[in-house]
């Protein structure tokens, strides 16, 4: 599956379009990681637990979007956009959407 955040898949011609597909997820880390991150806040630096959380959430949302595209019969998603918000404390919410297309 091709994923791009531009209008087309370079070097390929789009032959069919299926509309907008999306994937979303809300995830949290267990309380131990939350506490460690809280302690880390005192010293500064990267909060590995949350970096991990974000990348996990992104992976999962991306996978879900691809599943939707596959169910439509598409083989590429163009114009992919990420959107995020905090729906509850300590959790990461990721939303990914794009246009499902078929390329040659």
């Amino acid at each position: 599956m091709f994923l791009t955040n531009i209008e087309e898949v370079p070097g390929k011609r789009i032959i069919a379009c299926y509309g907008v597909v999306s994937g979303s997820t809300v995830r949290a880390k267990h309380v131990g990681r939350d506490i460690m991150a809280g302690l880390k806040n005192i010293f500064g630096g990267e909060l590995e637990a949350y970096t991990e959380l974000l990348s996990e959430a992104r992976e999962q949302a991306m996978l879900r979007m691809q599943q939707q595209a596959e169910s439509l019969g598409a083989n590429a998603i163009v114009n992919v956009r990420f959107s995020t918000s905090s729906v509850t404390a300590g959790a990461s919410e990721i939303y990914i959407y794009g246009t499902a297309v078929t390329v040659e």
């Binding site: 069919a16 999306s22 994937g23 879900r64 499902a100």
Partner: protein, 277 residues
Amino acid sequence: MQYHAKLPDDTPNVSHQNPVKEFLSLLAGLLAIVLFVYWILGFFIDEAVEFISPEMEIAIFESLGEEIIASQGGERSDKINKTEQHMRVLLDDLTACMDVGYPIELIFQQSDKANAFAAPGGKMVVLSGLLKHVKSENGLAFVVAHELGHFKNRDHLRGLGRGVVLMALSFLATGNMHLSKVLVPVNAFQNAQFSQGRESDADERALDIIQCHYGHVGGATEFFSKISDPEDDLPFTHYFKTHPEAEARVKAIQLLSQEKHYVEGEVKPAFWSGTIN
């Protein structure tokens, strides 16, 4: 290029697990963890209690003790009445038999509840409802001596420590003060104090005190026998949770006094008859 009008499969973005099942399994897991940590911390508290000197205890729990007493309900009369005076004399006599290590202050409160408990800071609280269920001075003396036993064993600190741990744990686990207040009622310290081993230790000390003061153990089981009567609908406190439990307790006390070769004698009449409604 053509446009295919189709709806994407919406299953990946939506949950399909039964929410009730998820809720119950999460709750069970959380409870298991909390109980485990609570149990572990209990050991540390028992160790720590040995290091708290009586002076330190009074300094730390001065205000907290008042709050716990207030949480049990009941009114405190401004002036000391005759019953309370009598009770203080009784307490002084009993403490003469066993040195608790620090001064005990008796607080007598008007309440329907039949209860007495050891609060931190050397405060022993007796609720007036108790007097309705004991008919002799010896019966009351045993209850007071039992609480003295708790003070001697420092069970009130153990109970309080566990109560605080329980509160902190439930707050940490849920991150919700409202929820933890519901899960752990204010008087949790009282229930946490309850442990069969600790209760029978206190009973043994109480028996010794009674034997020392009166020269016999008559009337010792009076209050507990009254409670163990299934006909009686009594509010159970930290003494017992069920009727059979109370019966077992009475038997255990009788057995213990036999082992120690204590005998029963003439009981003294109550000094409060008529003074309590």
